[in-house]
Subunit: 282 residues, 2 copies
Protein backbone atom coordinates (compact mmCIF):
# COMPACT_ATOMS: atom_id res chain seq x y z
CA UNK A 1 0.00 0.00 0.00
CA UNK A 2 1.22 3.48 -0.85
CA UNK A 3 0.14 6.59 1.02
CA UNK A 4 -0.62 9.63 -1.11
CA UNK A 5 -1.24 13.14 0.18
CA UNK A 6 -1.65 15.14 -3.04
CA UNK A 7 -4.08 15.31 -5.93
CA UNK A 8 -1.28 15.19 -8.50
CA UNK A 9 0.22 11.96 -7.07
CA UNK A 10 -3.24 10.34 -6.96
CA UNK A 11 -3.89 11.37 -10.57
CA UNK A 12 -0.62 9.72 -11.57
CA UNK A 13 -1.33 6.49 -9.65
CA UNK A 14 -4.79 6.28 -11.20
CA UNK A 15 -3.42 6.89 -14.68
CA UNK A 16 -0.85 4.13 -14.21
CA UNK A 17 -3.58 1.72 -13.08
CA UNK A 18 -5.77 2.64 -16.06
CA UNK A 19 -2.83 2.07 -18.40
CA UNK A 20 -2.54 -1.42 -16.93
CA UNK A 21 -6.29 -1.93 -17.52
CA UNK A 22 -6.89 -2.39 -13.80
CA UNK A 23 -10.37 -1.65 -12.50
CA UNK A 24 -10.45 0.85 -9.64
CA UNK A 25 -12.43 0.60 -6.42
CA UNK A 26 -12.93 3.59 -4.12
CA UNK A 27 -13.72 3.40 -0.41
CA UNK A 28 -14.35 6.98 0.71
CA UNK A 29 -13.97 7.42 4.49
CA UNK A 30 -13.41 10.09 7.09
CA UNK A 31 -10.76 7.91 8.72
CA UNK A 32 -10.81 6.36 12.18
CA UNK A 33 -11.39 3.13 10.35
CA UNK A 34 -13.33 0.32 12.00
CA UNK A 35 -14.54 -3.11 10.98
CA UNK A 36 -17.33 -1.55 8.91
CA UNK A 37 -14.79 0.28 6.72
CA UNK A 38 -12.59 -2.82 6.58
CA UNK A 39 -15.48 -4.84 5.17
CA UNK A 40 -15.82 -2.30 2.33
CA UNK A 41 -12.08 -2.35 1.62
CA UNK A 42 -11.98 -6.15 1.57
CA UNK A 43 -14.87 -6.27 -0.93
CA UNK A 44 -13.18 -3.67 -3.13
CA UNK A 45 -9.92 -5.63 -3.04
CA UNK A 46 -11.83 -8.71 -4.25
CA UNK A 47 -13.58 -6.77 -7.05
CA UNK A 48 -10.81 -4.47 -8.33
CA UNK A 49 -7.17 -4.31 -9.35
CA UNK A 50 -6.61 -1.06 -7.46
CA UNK A 51 -8.35 -0.09 -4.23
CA UNK A 52 -8.16 3.57 -3.23
CA UNK A 53 -9.16 4.29 0.36
CA UNK A 54 -9.64 7.99 0.97
CA UNK A 55 -9.16 9.20 4.49
CA UNK A 56 -10.43 12.78 4.69
CA UNK A 57 -12.47 14.49 7.38
CA UNK A 58 -14.49 16.60 4.98
CA UNK A 59 -15.20 20.05 6.44
CA UNK A 60 -17.99 20.90 3.97
CA UNK A 61 -20.28 18.23 5.40
CA UNK A 62 -20.04 19.61 8.95
CA UNK A 63 -22.07 22.65 9.99
CA UNK A 64 -20.69 25.23 12.42
CA UNK A 65 -21.03 23.78 15.92
CA UNK A 66 -20.83 20.17 14.74
CA UNK A 67 -17.84 17.96 15.62
CA UNK A 68 -15.47 18.70 12.70
CA UNK A 69 -12.63 19.79 14.99
CA UNK A 70 -13.13 16.99 17.52
CA UNK A 71 -13.98 14.24 15.00
CA UNK A 72 -11.67 11.35 15.98
CA UNK A 73 -8.47 10.98 13.97
CA UNK A 74 -5.81 8.24 14.20
CA UNK A 75 -3.88 8.11 10.97
CA UNK A 76 -1.27 5.59 12.15
CA UNK A 77 -3.97 3.10 13.00
CA UNK A 78 -5.90 3.90 9.79
CA UNK A 79 -2.88 2.98 7.70
CA UNK A 80 -2.64 -0.41 9.38
CA UNK A 81 -6.36 -1.17 9.07
CA UNK A 82 -6.48 -0.10 5.41
CA UNK A 83 -3.39 -2.07 4.45
CA UNK A 84 -4.51 -5.19 6.31
CA UNK A 85 -7.91 -5.08 4.59
CA UNK A 86 -6.27 -4.93 1.15
CA UNK A 87 -6.06 -1.25 0.17
CA UNK A 88 -3.43 -0.46 -2.47
CA UNK A 89 -3.59 3.34 -2.18
CA UNK A 90 -4.39 5.37 0.92
CA UNK A 91 -5.31 8.92 -0.11
CA UNK A 92 -5.08 11.32 2.81
CA UNK A 93 -5.08 14.90 1.52
CA UNK A 94 -4.97 18.09 3.55
CA UNK A 95 -8.05 20.30 3.45
CA UNK A 96 -6.16 22.82 1.30
CA UNK A 97 -5.48 20.11 -1.26
CA UNK A 98 -9.17 19.32 -1.66
CA UNK A 99 -10.47 22.87 -1.18
CA UNK A 100 -7.78 25.26 -2.40
CA UNK A 101 -8.16 29.02 -2.12
CA UNK A 102 -11.13 30.35 -4.12
CA UNK A 103 -12.81 26.94 -4.10
CA UNK A 104 -16.48 27.62 -4.85
CA UNK A 105 -18.30 24.74 -6.60
CA UNK A 106 -20.99 22.53 -5.09
CA UNK A 107 -23.08 19.53 -6.08
CA UNK A 108 -26.64 19.31 -4.78
CA UNK A 109 -28.69 16.12 -4.97
CA UNK A 110 -32.02 17.69 -4.07
CA UNK A 111 -35.10 15.83 -2.82
CA UNK A 112 -33.70 12.72 -1.20
CA UNK A 113 -31.11 14.85 0.63
CA UNK A 114 -33.74 17.19 2.10
CA UNK A 115 -35.58 14.66 4.29
CA UNK A 116 -34.54 12.75 7.45
CA UNK A 117 -30.95 13.76 8.38
CA UNK A 118 -31.17 16.58 5.83
CA UNK A 119 -33.85 18.35 7.86
CA UNK A 120 -31.63 19.02 10.86
CA UNK A 121 -28.44 19.26 8.80
CA UNK A 122 -29.45 21.28 5.69
CA UNK A 123 -25.90 21.63 4.27
CA UNK A 124 -24.60 18.16 5.23
CA UNK A 125 -25.41 16.22 2.07
CA UNK A 126 -24.26 19.09 -0.16
CA UNK A 127 -20.84 18.58 1.41
CA UNK A 128 -21.06 14.82 0.94
CA UNK A 129 -22.01 14.96 -2.75
CA UNK A 130 -19.45 17.67 -3.45
CA UNK A 131 -16.51 15.78 -1.97
CA UNK A 132 -17.67 12.53 -3.59
CA UNK A 133 -17.94 14.14 -7.03
CA UNK A 134 -14.33 15.22 -6.54
CA UNK A 135 -13.21 11.79 -5.32
CA UNK A 136 -15.04 9.99 -8.15
CA UNK A 137 -13.30 12.22 -10.70
CA UNK A 138 -9.90 11.95 -9.02
CA UNK A 139 -10.01 8.17 -8.55
CA UNK A 140 -11.87 7.48 -11.82
CA UNK A 141 -13.40 4.64 -9.80
CA UNK A 142 -15.29 1.86 -11.53
CA UNK A 143 -16.93 1.02 -8.19
CA UNK A 144 -17.39 2.91 -4.92
CA UNK A 145 -18.30 1.16 -1.68
CA UNK A 146 -20.64 2.54 0.97
CA UNK A 147 -22.04 1.11 4.18
CA UNK A 148 -25.79 0.72 4.65
CA UNK A 149 -25.39 2.27 8.10
CA UNK A 150 -25.65 5.68 6.43
CA UNK A 151 -28.61 4.47 4.34
CA UNK A 152 -29.73 7.95 3.33
CA UNK A 153 -26.20 8.88 2.31
CA UNK A 154 -26.09 5.92 -0.08
CA UNK A 155 -29.44 6.95 -1.58
CA UNK A 156 -28.20 10.52 -2.04
CA UNK A 157 -25.02 9.28 -3.74
CA UNK A 158 -27.00 6.91 -5.96
CA UNK A 159 -29.14 9.85 -7.07
CA UNK A 160 -26.09 12.00 -7.84
CA UNK A 161 -24.46 9.21 -9.85
CA UNK A 162 -27.66 8.50 -11.79
CA UNK A 163 -28.50 12.16 -12.47
CA UNK A 164 -24.98 13.32 -13.39
CA UNK A 165 -24.12 10.11 -15.29
CA UNK A 166 -20.99 9.31 -13.28
CA UNK A 167 -19.21 6.18 -14.51
CA UNK A 168 -18.97 4.75 -11.01
CA UNK A 169 -21.14 1.87 -9.77
CA UNK A 170 -22.33 2.35 -6.18
CA UNK A 171 -21.98 -0.81 -4.08
CA UNK A 172 -24.13 -0.80 -0.94
CA UNK A 173 -22.68 -3.04 1.78
CA UNK A 174 -24.42 -4.38 4.91
CA UNK A 175 -24.04 -2.84 8.38
CA UNK A 176 -21.24 -4.39 10.45
CA UNK A 177 -22.09 -4.77 14.14
CA UNK A 178 -20.47 -5.48 17.49
CA UNK A 179 -21.45 -8.78 19.14
CA UNK A 180 -23.86 -6.68 21.21
CA UNK A 181 -25.69 -5.64 18.04
CA UNK A 182 -24.37 -2.05 18.20
CA UNK A 183 -23.54 -0.79 14.71
CA UNK A 184 -19.80 -0.08 14.29
CA UNK A 185 -19.13 3.66 14.20
CA UNK A 186 -16.15 5.94 14.62
CA UNK A 187 -18.25 7.84 17.15
CA UNK A 188 -18.65 4.77 19.41
CA UNK A 189 -15.30 5.65 20.96
CA UNK A 190 -16.98 8.64 22.61
CA UNK A 191 -19.09 6.19 24.71
CA UNK A 192 -18.43 5.10 28.31
CA UNK A 193 -18.91 1.44 29.24
CA UNK A 194 -22.40 2.15 30.55
CA UNK A 195 -23.27 4.08 27.41
CA UNK A 196 -21.91 1.27 25.20
CA UNK A 197 -24.40 -1.03 26.91
CA UNK A 198 -27.25 1.47 26.59
CA UNK A 199 -26.41 2.07 22.92
CA UNK A 200 -27.64 -1.42 22.10
CA UNK A 201 -31.20 -0.07 22.37
CA UNK A 202 -30.94 1.28 18.82
CA UNK A 203 -30.64 -2.16 17.24
CA UNK A 204 -33.05 -3.73 19.72
CA UNK A 205 -35.72 -1.12 18.91
CA UNK A 206 -35.26 -1.89 15.20
CA UNK A 207 -35.67 -5.61 15.88
CA UNK A 208 -38.88 -4.79 17.76
CA UNK A 209 -40.15 -2.83 14.74
CA UNK A 210 -39.21 -5.71 12.46
CA UNK A 211 -41.11 -8.19 14.62
CA UNK A 212 -44.20 -5.95 14.78
CA UNK A 213 -44.31 -5.63 10.98
CA UNK A 214 -43.75 -9.38 10.59
CA UNK A 215 -46.69 -10.02 12.89
CA UNK A 216 -48.95 -7.86 10.72
CA UNK A 217 -48.73 -4.32 12.11
CA UNK A 218 -49.04 -1.80 9.26
CA UNK A 219 -49.59 1.46 11.20
CA UNK A 220 -46.27 3.32 11.21
CA UNK A 221 -47.43 5.49 14.12
CA UNK A 222 -48.02 2.48 16.37
CA UNK A 223 -44.62 1.04 15.55
CA UNK A 224 -42.86 4.32 16.27
CA UNK A 225 -44.72 4.62 19.56
CA UNK A 226 -43.65 1.11 20.57
CA UNK A 227 -40.02 1.86 19.67
CA UNK A 228 -40.11 5.13 21.60
CA UNK A 229 -41.54 3.44 24.68
CA UNK A 230 -38.97 0.65 24.48
CA UNK A 231 -35.98 3.00 24.15
CA UNK A 232 -36.99 5.40 26.92
CA UNK A 233 -37.83 2.57 29.34
CA UNK A 234 -34.66 0.59 28.59
CA UNK A 235 -31.89 3.23 28.51
CA UNK A 236 -31.73 6.03 31.05
CA UNK A 237 -29.23 8.14 29.08
CA UNK A 238 -30.98 7.74 25.73
CA UNK A 239 -32.68 10.71 24.11
CA UNK A 240 -34.47 10.00 20.87
CA UNK A 241 -33.63 12.46 18.08
CA UNK A 242 -35.55 10.84 15.22
CA UNK A 243 -37.44 7.65 14.49
CA UNK A 244 -38.74 7.46 10.93
CA UNK A 245 -40.51 4.92 8.80
CA UNK A 246 -40.03 5.77 5.12
CA UNK A 247 -40.34 4.23 1.69
CA UNK A 248 -37.04 2.45 1.03
CA UNK A 249 -36.67 3.99 -2.44
CA UNK A 250 -38.01 7.54 -2.20
CA UNK A 251 -37.35 7.99 1.56
CA UNK A 252 -40.83 9.58 1.72
CA UNK A 253 -42.71 9.27 4.99
CA UNK A 254 -45.00 6.24 5.25
CA UNK A 255 -48.14 6.10 7.40
CA UNK A 256 -49.48 2.73 6.32
CA UNK A 257 -46.87 0.12 5.46
CA UNK A 258 -47.66 -1.42 2.09
CA UNK A 259 -44.19 -1.75 0.53
CA UNK A 260 -40.58 -2.20 1.68
CA UNK A 261 -39.69 0.35 4.34
CA UNK A 262 -36.49 1.78 5.73
CA UNK A 263 -36.57 2.51 9.46
CA UNK A 264 -33.75 4.86 10.42
CA UNK A 265 -33.23 5.90 14.04
CA UNK A 266 -31.04 8.61 15.54
CA UNK A 267 -30.62 8.52 19.31
CA UNK A 268 -28.38 10.48 21.64
CA UNK A 269 -26.64 8.26 24.17
CA UNK A 270 -25.33 10.84 26.59
CA UNK A 271 -23.81 13.49 24.33
CA UNK A 272 -23.15 11.17 21.39
CA UNK A 273 -25.61 10.98 18.52
CA UNK A 274 -25.78 7.46 17.10
CA UNK A 275 -27.64 6.20 14.03
CA UNK A 276 -28.81 2.81 12.89
CA UNK A 277 -31.45 1.44 10.52
CA UNK A 278 -33.19 -1.63 9.24
CA UNK A 279 -34.87 -2.40 5.92
CA UNK A 280 -38.04 -4.44 6.28
CA UNK A 281 -39.16 -5.99 2.99
CA UNK A 282 -42.94 -6.08 2.55
CA UNK B 1 -20.42 10.30 -38.49
CA UNK B 2 -23.01 8.42 -36.49
CA UNK B 3 -26.03 10.07 -34.90
CA UNK B 4 -26.91 8.92 -31.39
CA UNK B 5 -30.08 9.80 -29.51
CA UNK B 6 -29.67 7.82 -26.27
CA UNK B 7 -27.38 7.80 -23.28
CA UNK B 8 -26.84 4.03 -23.53
CA UNK B 9 -25.69 4.22 -27.18
CA UNK B 10 -23.34 7.09 -26.37
CA UNK B 11 -21.89 5.17 -23.42
CA UNK B 12 -21.21 2.23 -25.73
CA UNK B 13 -19.58 4.38 -28.44
CA UNK B 14 -17.35 6.05 -25.83
CA UNK B 15 -16.38 2.69 -24.33
CA UNK B 16 -15.43 1.38 -27.77
CA UNK B 17 -13.28 4.45 -28.40
CA UNK B 18 -11.57 4.10 -25.00
CA UNK B 19 -10.87 0.44 -25.74
CA UNK B 20 -9.12 1.57 -28.92
CA UNK B 21 -7.11 4.12 -26.87
CA UNK B 22 -8.61 7.01 -28.81
CA UNK B 23 -8.70 10.39 -27.11
CA UNK B 24 -12.14 11.98 -27.01
CA UNK B 25 -13.05 15.57 -27.80
CA UNK B 26 -16.42 17.07 -26.85
CA UNK B 27 -18.05 20.06 -28.52
CA UNK B 28 -21.17 20.84 -26.50
CA UNK B 29 -23.71 22.90 -28.47
CA UNK B 30 -27.38 23.83 -28.46
CA UNK B 31 -27.50 23.11 -32.19
CA UNK B 32 -28.23 25.56 -35.01
CA UNK B 33 -24.56 25.22 -35.78
CA UNK B 34 -22.68 28.08 -37.40
CA UNK B 35 -19.09 28.74 -38.38
CA UNK B 36 -18.16 29.34 -34.73
CA UNK B 37 -19.22 25.81 -33.78
CA UNK B 38 -17.56 24.40 -36.90
CA UNK B 39 -14.24 25.94 -35.83
CA UNK B 40 -14.48 24.09 -32.50
CA UNK B 41 -15.36 20.79 -34.20
CA UNK B 42 -12.48 21.13 -36.65
CA UNK B 43 -10.02 21.74 -33.80
CA UNK B 44 -11.35 18.74 -31.88
CA UNK B 45 -11.04 16.56 -34.98
CA UNK B 46 -7.37 17.60 -35.24
CA UNK B 47 -6.69 16.92 -31.55
CA UNK B 48 -8.68 13.73 -30.91
CA UNK B 49 -9.51 10.28 -32.27
CA UNK B 50 -13.21 10.67 -31.51
CA UNK B 51 -15.13 13.95 -31.65
CA UNK B 52 -18.54 14.01 -29.97
CA UNK B 53 -20.72 16.99 -30.88
CA UNK B 54 -23.70 17.30 -28.59
CA UNK B 55 -26.72 19.05 -29.97
CA UNK B 56 -29.11 19.71 -27.09
CA UNK B 57 -31.19 22.77 -26.33
CA UNK B 58 -30.77 22.52 -22.57
CA UNK B 59 -33.95 23.58 -20.77
CA UNK B 60 -32.28 24.03 -17.35
CA UNK B 61 -30.24 27.01 -18.57
CA UNK B 62 -33.34 28.93 -19.73
CA UNK B 63 -35.52 30.76 -17.22
CA UNK B 64 -39.31 30.97 -17.66
CA UNK B 65 -40.03 33.62 -20.29
CA UNK B 66 -36.70 33.15 -22.07
CA UNK B 67 -36.54 31.71 -25.59
CA UNK B 68 -36.29 27.95 -24.86
CA UNK B 69 -39.37 27.13 -26.95
CA UNK B 70 -38.46 29.46 -29.82
CA UNK B 71 -34.70 28.82 -29.77
CA UNK B 72 -33.83 28.04 -33.40
CA UNK B 73 -33.53 24.36 -34.33
CA UNK B 74 -32.50 22.81 -37.67
CA UNK B 75 -31.29 19.30 -37.07
CA UNK B 76 -30.93 18.36 -40.75
CA UNK B 77 -28.56 21.26 -41.29
CA UNK B 78 -26.72 20.58 -38.00
CA UNK B 79 -25.92 17.04 -39.13
CA UNK B 80 -24.37 18.35 -42.34
CA UNK B 81 -22.32 21.06 -40.60
CA UNK B 82 -21.07 18.69 -37.88
CA UNK B 83 -20.11 15.96 -40.34
CA UNK B 84 -18.38 18.37 -42.72
CA UNK B 85 -16.34 19.84 -39.83
CA UNK B 86 -15.13 16.39 -38.79
CA UNK B 87 -17.47 15.16 -36.03
CA UNK B 88 -17.51 11.39 -35.55
CA UNK B 89 -20.51 11.23 -33.19
CA UNK B 90 -23.49 13.59 -33.12
CA UNK B 91 -25.29 13.20 -29.79
CA UNK B 92 -28.81 14.62 -29.96
CA UNK B 93 -30.82 13.35 -26.98
CA UNK B 94 -34.41 14.19 -26.09
CA UNK B 95 -34.97 16.22 -22.94
CA UNK B 96 -36.36 13.10 -21.21
CA UNK B 97 -33.11 11.26 -21.94
CA UNK B 98 -31.02 13.92 -20.19
CA UNK B 99 -33.52 14.79 -17.47
CA UNK B 100 -35.60 11.69 -16.77
CA UNK B 101 -38.50 11.70 -14.31
CA UNK B 102 -37.37 12.53 -10.75
CA UNK B 103 -34.19 14.22 -12.01
CA UNK B 104 -33.06 16.47 -9.16
CA UNK B 105 -29.27 17.07 -9.05
CA UNK B 106 -27.49 20.33 -9.81
CA UNK B 107 -23.94 21.64 -10.03
CA UNK B 108 -23.27 25.22 -8.91
CA UNK B 109 -20.04 27.05 -9.71
CA UNK B 110 -20.58 29.97 -7.35
CA UNK B 111 -18.80 33.31 -7.53
CA UNK B 112 -17.80 33.65 -11.15
CA UNK B 113 -21.32 32.61 -12.20
CA UNK B 114 -23.00 35.25 -10.06
CA UNK B 115 -21.66 38.36 -11.82
CA UNK B 116 -22.32 39.82 -15.30
CA UNK B 117 -24.82 37.56 -17.14
CA UNK B 118 -25.48 35.75 -13.87
CA UNK B 119 -27.04 38.88 -12.33
CA UNK B 120 -29.96 39.04 -14.74
CA UNK B 121 -30.10 35.25 -15.24
CA UNK B 122 -29.58 33.80 -11.74
CA UNK B 123 -30.28 30.16 -12.71
CA UNK B 124 -28.61 30.20 -16.14
CA UNK B 125 -25.12 29.02 -15.25
CA UNK B 126 -26.46 26.39 -12.84
CA UNK B 127 -28.13 24.84 -15.90
CA UNK B 128 -24.93 25.16 -17.92
CA UNK B 129 -22.68 23.52 -15.33
CA UNK B 130 -25.24 20.78 -14.63
CA UNK B 131 -25.63 19.72 -18.26
CA UNK B 132 -21.86 19.96 -18.83
CA UNK B 133 -21.10 17.78 -15.80
CA UNK B 134 -23.44 15.21 -17.37
CA UNK B 135 -21.87 15.55 -20.83
CA UNK B 136 -18.32 15.35 -19.44
CA UNK B 137 -19.21 12.13 -17.61
CA UNK B 138 -21.11 10.65 -20.56
CA UNK B 139 -18.47 11.48 -23.16
CA UNK B 140 -15.48 10.90 -20.82
CA UNK B 141 -13.92 13.68 -22.88
CA UNK B 142 -10.19 14.34 -22.68
CA UNK B 143 -10.84 17.82 -24.10
CA UNK B 144 -13.91 20.02 -24.41
CA UNK B 145 -14.05 23.00 -26.76
CA UNK B 146 -15.75 26.32 -26.02
CA UNK B 147 -15.95 29.61 -27.88
CA UNK B 148 -14.62 32.80 -26.32
CA UNK B 149 -17.84 34.53 -27.41
CA UNK B 150 -19.42 33.24 -24.18
CA UNK B 151 -16.34 34.29 -22.20
CA UNK B 152 -18.04 34.10 -18.82
CA UNK B 153 -19.40 30.65 -19.62
CA UNK B 154 -15.87 29.38 -20.29
CA UNK B 155 -14.68 30.84 -16.99
CA UNK B 156 -17.56 29.19 -15.14
CA UNK B 157 -16.79 25.83 -16.77
CA UNK B 158 -13.08 26.20 -16.00
CA UNK B 159 -13.96 26.77 -12.35
CA UNK B 160 -16.21 23.71 -12.24
CA UNK B 161 -13.55 21.52 -13.84
CA UNK B 162 -10.84 22.78 -11.50
CA UNK B 163 -12.95 22.56 -8.33
CA UNK B 164 -14.55 19.17 -9.04
CA UNK B 165 -11.35 17.66 -10.53
CA UNK B 166 -12.94 16.68 -13.85
CA UNK B 167 -10.49 14.90 -16.17
CA UNK B 168 -11.41 17.14 -19.10
CA UNK B 169 -9.17 19.92 -20.40
CA UNK B 170 -11.08 23.06 -21.37
CA UNK B 171 -9.97 24.50 -24.71
CA UNK B 172 -10.96 28.14 -25.20
CA UNK B 173 -11.25 29.04 -28.89
CA UNK B 174 -11.36 32.52 -30.46
CA UNK B 175 -14.58 34.27 -31.55
CA UNK B 176 -15.50 33.65 -35.20
CA UNK B 177 -16.95 36.71 -36.95
CA UNK B 178 -18.81 37.69 -40.10
CA UNK B 179 -16.87 39.89 -42.57
CA UNK B 180 -18.78 42.80 -40.99
CA UNK B 181 -17.19 42.02 -37.62
CA UNK B 182 -20.46 40.71 -36.13
CA UNK B 183 -19.78 37.70 -33.92
CA UNK B 184 -21.37 34.51 -35.31
CA UNK B 185 -24.40 33.50 -33.25
CA UNK B 186 -27.41 31.24 -33.67
CA UNK B 187 -29.52 34.22 -32.66
CA UNK B 188 -28.28 36.33 -35.61
CA UNK B 189 -30.94 34.66 -37.73
CA UNK B 190 -33.56 36.65 -35.79
CA UNK B 191 -32.13 39.89 -37.30
CA UNK B 192 -33.51 41.82 -40.30
CA UNK B 193 -31.07 43.19 -42.88
CA UNK B 194 -31.14 46.62 -41.21
CA UNK B 195 -30.57 45.04 -37.80
CA UNK B 196 -27.68 42.93 -39.15
CA UNK B 197 -26.03 46.19 -40.17
CA UNK B 198 -26.76 47.85 -36.82
CA UNK B 199 -25.48 44.78 -34.92
CA UNK B 200 -21.96 45.62 -36.03
CA UNK B 201 -21.91 48.35 -33.35
CA UNK B 202 -21.05 45.72 -30.73
CA UNK B 203 -17.67 44.90 -32.24
CA UNK B 204 -17.04 48.51 -33.26
CA UNK B 205 -17.64 49.69 -29.67
CA UNK B 206 -15.18 47.05 -28.43
CA UNK B 207 -12.59 48.24 -30.95
CA UNK B 208 -13.16 51.78 -29.66
CA UNK B 209 -12.52 50.59 -26.08
CA UNK B 210 -9.41 48.76 -27.22
CA UNK B 211 -8.06 51.90 -28.91
CA UNK B 212 -8.81 54.07 -25.87
CA UNK B 213 -6.91 51.69 -23.56
CA UNK B 214 -4.03 51.46 -26.05
CA UNK B 215 -3.81 55.25 -26.08
CA UNK B 216 -3.50 55.33 -22.29
CA UNK B 217 -7.03 55.64 -20.90
CA UNK B 218 -7.29 53.74 -17.60
CA UNK B 219 -10.63 55.00 -16.25
CA UNK B 220 -13.20 52.26 -16.91
CA UNK B 221 -16.04 54.76 -16.44
CA UNK B 222 -14.81 56.99 -19.24
CA UNK B 223 -14.41 54.05 -21.59
CA UNK B 224 -17.91 52.77 -20.86
CA UNK B 225 -19.31 56.27 -21.42
CA UNK B 226 -17.55 56.51 -24.78
CA UNK B 227 -18.87 53.08 -25.81
CA UNK B 228 -22.40 54.01 -24.72
CA UNK B 229 -22.31 57.25 -26.67
CA UNK B 230 -20.95 55.50 -29.76
CA UNK B 231 -23.58 52.75 -29.72
CA UNK B 232 -26.58 55.00 -29.11
CA UNK B 233 -25.47 57.52 -31.75
CA UNK B 234 -24.65 54.86 -34.37
CA UNK B 235 -27.53 52.40 -34.17
CA UNK B 236 -31.12 53.60 -33.85
CA UNK B 237 -32.51 50.17 -32.80
CA UNK B 238 -29.76 49.40 -30.31
CA UNK B 239 -30.58 49.32 -26.61
CA UNK B 240 -27.62 48.66 -24.31
CA UNK B 241 -28.25 45.97 -21.72
CA UNK B 242 -24.78 45.80 -20.17
CA UNK B 243 -21.31 47.14 -20.75
CA UNK B 244 -18.76 45.87 -18.25
CA UNK B 245 -15.03 46.14 -17.73
CA UNK B 246 -13.83 43.33 -15.50
CA UNK B 247 -10.67 41.55 -14.46
CA UNK B 248 -10.09 38.83 -17.06
CA UNK B 249 -9.48 36.15 -14.42
CA UNK B 250 -11.84 36.92 -11.54
CA UNK B 251 -14.49 38.76 -13.63
CA UNK B 252 -14.59 41.32 -10.79
CA UNK B 253 -15.52 44.88 -11.72
CA UNK B 254 -12.57 47.14 -12.52
CA UNK B 255 -12.57 50.92 -12.05
CA UNK B 256 -8.95 51.65 -12.90
CA UNK B 257 -7.40 49.43 -15.52
CA UNK B 258 -4.09 48.07 -14.26
CA UNK B 259 -4.16 44.46 -15.55
CA UNK B 260 -5.69 42.51 -18.42
CA UNK B 261 -9.40 43.21 -18.71
CA UNK B 262 -12.36 41.49 -20.31
CA UNK B 263 -14.92 43.86 -21.80
CA UNK B 264 -18.22 42.06 -22.38
CA UNK B 265 -21.17 43.85 -23.96
CA UNK B 266 -24.81 42.84 -24.24
CA UNK B 267 -26.95 44.92 -26.56
CA UNK B 268 -30.49 44.48 -27.79
CA UNK B 269 -30.79 45.05 -31.52
CA UNK B 270 -34.55 45.31 -31.93
CA UNK B 271 -35.85 42.38 -29.87
CA UNK B 272 -32.69 40.28 -30.11
CA UNK B 273 -30.11 40.33 -27.32
CA UNK B 274 -26.60 39.98 -28.72
CA UNK B 275 -23.33 39.58 -26.85
CA UNK B 276 -19.70 40.13 -27.75
CA UNK B 277 -16.46 40.78 -25.90
CA UNK B 278 -12.82 41.64 -26.20
CA UNK B 279 -9.83 40.89 -23.98
CA UNK B 280 -7.38 43.78 -23.71
CA UNK B 281 -3.99 42.71 -22.32
CA UNK B 282 -2.42 45.31 -20.04
Amino acid sequence: MITIMTVSELTKAVKDAKNKNLTIGLVPTMGYLHEGHASLIRQSAVDNGLTVVSCFVNPTQFAPGEDFESYPRDFTRDRKVAEKAGATVLFAPDVSEMYPENYNTFVLACGVSEVLEGLARPTHFRGVTTVLAKLFNLSRADRAYFGQKDAQQVSVVEQMVRDLNFNTAIIRMPIVREDSGLAKSSRNQYLSDTELQEATVLKKSLDLAHDLIRSGEIAAGKIKAAMTEFITQTAENARIDRIDIVDNTTLADVETITSTVLIPVAVYIGKTRLIDNIVVPV
